[in-house]
């Protein structure tokens, strides 16, 4: 057993956990945030993607103990004061989700992707970058559209802010 303290969506959470506890288990069971999903156990599907200190991480592949002291953002922490993040809004606007199970991981991966390509994204890059996220419902068509639209929106916002 070890005590870890992780700041999740801006709120500090401390708990004594079994050493083998995965970050995703800490988030779902200890922090009660069930938006982060487990789809495969082998780091392939990406349903569990969260941000650890600002970078996309598959939370089924990281021990909670490794995240001790880290800042973690989950899908629940993305909307601010009830206003959807542009990526969340774009997924709805472009019908980028169906059953919703892969969606939190997709959105968290997409936010990270857009952050890493501040100059914008084309379809080919989006498709290559989505390699670590599997969706069985949408055929990716509308996910790609949503990420492209969100990337354009966020670039516009960034330019307007300058």
């Amino acid at each position: 057993m070890a005590t870890v303290t992780i700041t999740v969506n801006g709120k500090k959470r401390s708990a004594a956990i079994e050493d083998r506890t995965l970050l995703v288990q800490f988030l779902r069971e200890t922090a009660g945030l069930t938006g982060t999903h487990v789809g495969c156990d082998t780091s392939q599907c990406g349903a569990c993607v969260v941000h650890v200190d600002g970078k996309a991480v598959k939370s089924c592949t990281m021990l909670a103990a490794q995240a001790d002291g880290a800042q973690v953002t989950t899908i629940e922490g993305l909307a601010q004061d009830g206003a959807l993040h542009p990526v969340q809004a774009a997924f709805r606007e472009h019908h980028g989700l169906q059953c919703g199970f892969c969606t939190p991981g997709m959105i968290m991966a997409a936010v990270d992707m857009i952050n890493r390509y501040p100059a914008g994204l084309d379809e080919e890059t989006i498709r290559k970058e989505l390699d670590g996220n599997i969706c069985r419902c949408t055929g990716y068509h509308n996910i790609v559209k949503a990420i492209k639209a969100a990337s354009d929106t966020m670039r516009g916002m960034a330019q307007a802010a300058e």
């Binding site: 069930t34 938006g35 789809g39 959807l84 969606t103 989505l130 996220n133 599997i134 055929g139 990716y140």
Partner: protein, 787 residues
């Protein structure tokens, strides 16, 4: 149609919870005192169980109980069943082998459950499951269906001699033989349809809670049809009477058929909950899903097509062997029979068809309906045969199809189906235009300059959906009716709840069903909520599969709306002192036609509930229910055109263009329909290029994780070009046909036809991996040894 009515691209009402992480899936549920289940599973494909020693596991930390099949049988829990009776051509019933939720004597596939551990945490349950000692005596295994029929093959079930489940036929064999006798050309092919794993992204899960005081169970589970689950658990598996069992399918993360069935694990959780006195949760890991979710397809077919001197098809002869795995899953028997062979006429006027289907047991995971279920198998046979025959007789494949299209409706095929409406030439033309078929030669030449092989392939598919009139399916062996129910409850303040027996696991019912109400009463969809997936709330329903939610589920809603509208008009006419026939509903108001008199919808609703001033003899309230039983299958159809480029040095196929032209009849929400097609196409392309459930000879599943089973990823597929044509289905009130499976049904042959067109040889099977394509290219280059 109005901003939110039928035909509008209304954004989904359900999205907000999913994009903010507030979806509620089964694994998100908890119950006080909950324990966790872990299953002990067979590592062998075929073995006798000599003993099971649970003592070490029972002493492990946190363990509540370790339970085995003997206890399950001792408690009277029933065997799993197949609910669709098929008779062999000699009249004998199918041979259903005994399937226990926990096997005590002989395991028949890798991953079959033999014991369950319930413990305080999931990790403790897993640890203890590892400590259960099972002494197996390994037996020889068989994984291939053809091998299983051979003399001397390992035998799975004493009930099924030669592993044969049934030997079934359809069509007129004599007429078909006569057609072949006078044929000018016969095309022959051996066709394999690869085995797939559905892979809904949410693994199956269950949380079962037994309330001792009430003798009542609640089961939260990943189901496409919770009422059917309750019926089967109650009537056949003896878990509890229906009124003592509540099944809730909350948010469900995809199904594709795999969540229709009642599996051992959900039953065992219910039973274990009573046994242990605590709620029991189980969530499959992905490898468990690969090993135990019902697989799809796995057909081996020999097909022959007879043409006359005008290249008109005069006969089709098909022999199929279908692998059903180790046990007969809930609807497995219907898939290679009434959902397959009845579609072998395709879109074509074929006067004589005969099909023989043999299904066999093997030491593999049970096979059942997976998106399309039988119809992809039929389409793959017919459309590969069409393309091949066209090439053999030197006709353009589009023109060969056009020549043989059915052109007048209704059309009775020789294999039961009566097609009610369609315009196959319209979808072919739309697809050819969108694909710029005329420009293909130029593109091929340009690709050749870059050293690439470019090919184009067609698939003109038809499917039968809704499934179907209850009397008809009953006569074909179904153990259930296939109607749907609905209830429309108008609240006193005018908001509306629609209860449906249909179930959404991604299809967007909360939006599209609400659009029906918006269309009818002119009220915003925000004032409507759709209730589904809970046997305590919805009276009964048959659930969602077979592209039936629109054509059957919505038709039930329409019938209930008719009743609500009629009563609302009576009340409005009474209140406004007008004739009932003069009342019209527009923009959320009931108006007297030709006057300025009107009442808002909510006032009529309120009047129905205050009941202060209703027409004489009228009951208070505004709530109506309806059951809708379809009058026929529906027949969505269309043409898909796939264009590929292949690198001859690596064999890698790139889909450079994919066009889908579909006729789904009336479309309620084009945005959602397009999404369904995108997803279906990707699953079909996955089957054609990437996916394969591969067993070694000993029966080990080699592809039991995403490391080994190649799921389509974003850079494996293109963006799609979709178009629709429309002929209305005459059999239901809205003219809907269904759209959920079309993409997966129509796309595989289009992809393979494009590849064979590009590489100039027909000798390739799915999945057309780079290695297989490269080998096919090399084999075609080599001079035939016999020459």
């Amino acid at each position: 149609m109005g901003a939110e009515g039928i035909g509008a691209r209304v954004l989904r009402k359900e999205d907000r919870r999913f994009i903010t992480g507030k979806g509620r899936y089964t694994d998100d549920m908890t119950a006080p005192g909950m324990g966790f289940a872990a299953f002990v599973r067979s590592p062998h494909a075929h073995a006798a169980i000599k003993s099971i020693d649970t003592s070490a596991a029972a002493d492990m930390p946190g363990v509540t109980a370790v339970l085995t099949g003997d206890q399950l049988v001792g408690d009277g829990v029933g065997n799993l069943i197949c609910g669709w009776m098929i008779h062999s051509k000699d009249g004998t019933p199918m041979k259903m082998g005994a399937w226990r939720a926990l096997e005590a004597e002989r395991v028949r596939h890798v991953g079959q459950a033999v014991a369950v551990v319930v413990a305080d945490t999931a990790a403790q349950a897993r640890d203890a499951a590892e400590a259960v000692m099972v002494d197996y005596e390994e037996l020889p295994a068989v994984v291939d269906a053809i091998d299983a029929m051979k003399e001397g093959a390992p035998q799975l079930h004493p009930e099924a001699e030669g592993n044969l489940i049934y030997d079934w036929e359809i069509g007129d064999e004599t007429a078909t033989n006569e057609a072949f006798a006078r044929a000018k050309h016969v095309t022959r092919m051996e066709i394999f349809n690869n085995r797939l794993v559905p892979n809904a992204m949410e693994p199956r899960a269950a949380l079962a809670a037994y309330d001792e005081a009430e003798e009542h169970y609640t089961l939260w589970t990943t189901s496409q049809n919770p009422h059917v689950a309750r019926l089967v658990l109650s009537a056949f598996y003896n878990i509890a009477p229906e009124h003592k069992l509540r099944v809730i399918a909350p948010d469900v993360g995809g199904g594709f058929g795999s969540k229709i069935y009642i599996y051992p694990e959900e039953m065992v959780c219910l039973w274990a909950s009573k046994r242990t006195g605590r709620p029991v949760k189980w969530v499959a890991d992905r490898t468990e899903a690969f090993l135990t979710d019902a697989h799809g397809r796995d057909h081996h077919t020999e097909a022959e097509m007879a043409l006359d001197e005008h290249n008109k098809i005069i006969g089709l002869r098909v022999k199929t062997v279908a692998n059903l795995g180790a046990y007969m899953s809930l609807f497995s028997s219907s898939v290679p029979t009434y959902l397959y062979a009845t579609l072998l006429s395709g879109q074509y006027d074929i006067p004589a068809i005969h099909c023989n289907v043999k299904t066999v047991y093997t030491n593999t995971t049970p096979v059942d309906a997976y998106r399309g279920a039988g119809r992809p198998e039929a389409t793959y046979v017919v459309e590969r045969m069409m393309e091949t025959a066209a090439r053999e007789v030197g006709m353009d494949p589009a023109e060969f199809r056009r020549k043989n299209f059915i052109r007048s409706f209704p059309h009775q095929t020789p294999v039961i189906m009566c097609y009610d409406a369609g315009d196959y030439e319209a979808s072919l033309d739309a697809a050819m235009k969108a694909a710029d078929y005329a420009g293909f030669g130029t593109r091929k030449a340009e690709a050749a300059k870059r050293g690439k092989l470019r090919g184009i392939g067609f698939s003109s598919y038809i499917e039968a959906c809704g499934i179907a009139p209850s009397q008809a399916v009953g006569s074909l062996g179904a153990g259930v009716g296939l109607w749907e129910s609905a209830e429309v409850r108008v609240n006193p303040v005018g908001t509306i709840e629609v209860l449906t027996g249909s179930h959404s696991h991604g299809q967007g019912h909360e939006t599209t069903f609400a659009q029906l109400i918006a269309d009818r009463f002119g009220v915003p969809t925000d004032s409507v909520s759709i209730v589904h997936g809970d046997t305590d709330k919805v009276q009964f329903g048959m659930g969602t599969y077979g592209s039936r939610s629109g054509a059957v589920g919505m038709s039930a809603v329409v019938k209930a709306l008719d009743k609500v509208e009629a009563k609302a008009k009576k009340i409005a006419a009474h209140l406004m002192e007008a004739a009932e026939g003069d009342i019209v509903i527009e923009g959320g108001e009931l108006k007297v036609a030709g006057t300025d008199k009107s009442l808002p919808f909510f006032q009529v609703a309120l009047a129905a509930y205050t009941a202060h001033n209703l027409p004489a003899g009228m009951e208070p309230g505004l709530k109506e229910g309806a059951f809708y039983d379809p009058t026929n299958f529906t027949f969505p159809a269309g043409t898909y055109v796939c264009e590929v480029e292949i690198d001859p040095d690596t064999g890698r196929t790139e889909i450079v263009n994919f066009v889908a032209a579909d006729d789904f009849g009336k479309i309620i929400n084009p945005m959602i329909v397009e999404g369904q097609v995108h997803g279906g196409l990707t699953q079909g392309i996955g089957q054609a290029l990437l996916e394969n459930a591969s067993y070694d000879e000993s029966g080990q599943l080699l592809t039991a994780s995403y490391m080994d089973y190649c799921m389509p990823r974003a850079d494996d597929v293109p963006s799609y070009k979709l178009t629709t044509t429309e002929t209305l289905c005459p059999g239901n009130p809205l003219g809907m046909k269904g759209c959920g499976e079309a993409g997966a049904i129509g796309s595989p042959p289009a992809v393979i036809n494009a590849i064979t067109n590009a590489i100039g040889t027909n000798e390739i099977d799915m999945p057309a991996t780079p290695e297989k394509v490269w080998r096919a290219i090399q084999a075609a280059k080599m001079p035939a040894a016999a020459e």
